[in-house]
Amino acid sequence: MKTPAKKSNKPEARLMGTLVYLDEPQVVLLEHGPDARIIGVAIDKEGYDYGFLGAEISFNQLVNYLRELVDLRNLFLVPRYRSWYLFDLALTNENQIVPLKRATKEDYQNEEFLPAPQFFARNHTEELVELPTAELVKQKYLIDGTWSPQDLSIFFARINDLYSFFLGIKKFQSSVTSLDQKKQFIRAFSDHPLRGGSSYVGLYGDLKGLLGFEERLAMGAIKKESPGYLDIEGKSEVLSEITSALCVYSQNAEEITAHYKQLHSFLSKMKLLKAEPDRFDPTSPVAGRIKELSKHFATLLNVDYTAIETLTGKHILLSAKILLSHYRRIERYNLFFIEGRVQFPEEDYAEFFVEPPQGVQEHLVQTLPKLLPPQET
């Protein structure tokens, strides 16, 4: 099936509305394809009654702008579709269609036409009904000044895999998710043979791709100092679920790891780690044993085995491998904490755990090295 184009090539766009009004429209938003939006700022240009310079951005960029992760100028400097346009609002027709003209480099690099830094979405004077909103929260992680861009990238990837996994299951179980979307989640879980590293990457990649732009995980403000911090933004209940999973793991790491090794070792002995899923006999005693181990493993991890089973089409081997991969991701995420490279702010502990598992706060306080400066005595 041909994937629909993300942006239109037509020299026109649909006016969605005004974002800033000051005696006249100053910032407007146009739609130019399923993913493409053109954000325009009013400019003074000869030959135009109500001239605008527009930058063609992606929906994801628009969401990040609305979340105030980037300012307006950023959208004009690095628009996703690397296209800039001039348009005159006076030429809008009765269907809200505005003709576009490609802007020259002299136009889109003209500082007189570009917004200055530090103009954020909080300054909007108008509300657009079509703009996305989502119940998103920021999760702060305390870091120190030694973090490199690679460290940030790896850490974000660890959380993002877990985020996609938990949100994927939630969406699959949700009554508002359409049947077609649910089938896509099933395909994501069951289409990958999970015989090697790239296959697992494919699984998590597919899950991320099924999430709406407005609900995807995003990296926010970063302060690389000692102490510093990193903000991660995402759906509140999913971030809480990741933290709960971390807590469950850290409280019972020995038993969970032992069970991981037991399940992994069994699959290895049965030469099933790299076996073709289609050749797996679900009626064999081996399958029965795998299911038994998997169910217990899922209970230890506090993961819904029934959901995993449904998503894999009741494929016992795939379900086991997904649980193993999930464990590895939690373990790698936890490593950042164990190594003392990251910590939750203390005031967040109570926020995470409405009913904290007994001893978890003391446990976390003991195992997570302080990154804050020592108290003066």
Partner: protein, 131 residues
């Protein structure tokens, strides 16, 4: 604006039918801001585009087009609109005003206030800041 009032029953500009909107109210603002071009501000600094015989772009409400944009904010340093290219080019100052219920009617959506001034009302400017 608590300046002299000659005829509070009429508006300073000719307004379209059903304008100002029914939900516009005459209220007091101790401090409210207007982007202007002169220091001290002159009458033309408070005129709408309609008053200047400019036609609104399609989709812009003619009633709004005949209003004057004012801004409410706790800290004027947080008024960021000079970052926008046309605002930066067009306006040189920020005028701090005092508006009362005798000055006109307003429609606020939080930060932005549409203002329809009564005829004969002279804006009460308390301070002017250069942008």
């Amino acid at each position: 604006m608590s300046g002299s009032i000659k005829a509070a029953s009429k508006f300073v500009e000719q307004l379209p039918a059903s304008c100002p909107p029914a939900e516009a109210v005459a209220v007091n603002y101790e401090t409210i801001w207007r982007y202007v071009n002169s220091n001290p501000p002159i009458e033309s600094d408070f005129q709408s585009h309609a008053m200047r015989n400019k036609n609104p772009p399609p989709g812009v409400d003619p009633c709004r087009w005949a209003s004057c944009s004012l801004f409410l904010i706790d800290n004027v340093n947080n008024l960021a609109y000079k970052a926008l290219p046309k605002v930066k080019k067009k306006y040189k100052f920020l005028a701090q005003l005092k508006v009362t219920h005798l000055c006109g009617v307003t429609l606020s959506n939080g930060r932005h206030v549409d203002f329809w001034r009564f005829s004969g009302v002279i804006p009460n400017v308390t301070r002017v800041i250069a942008l």
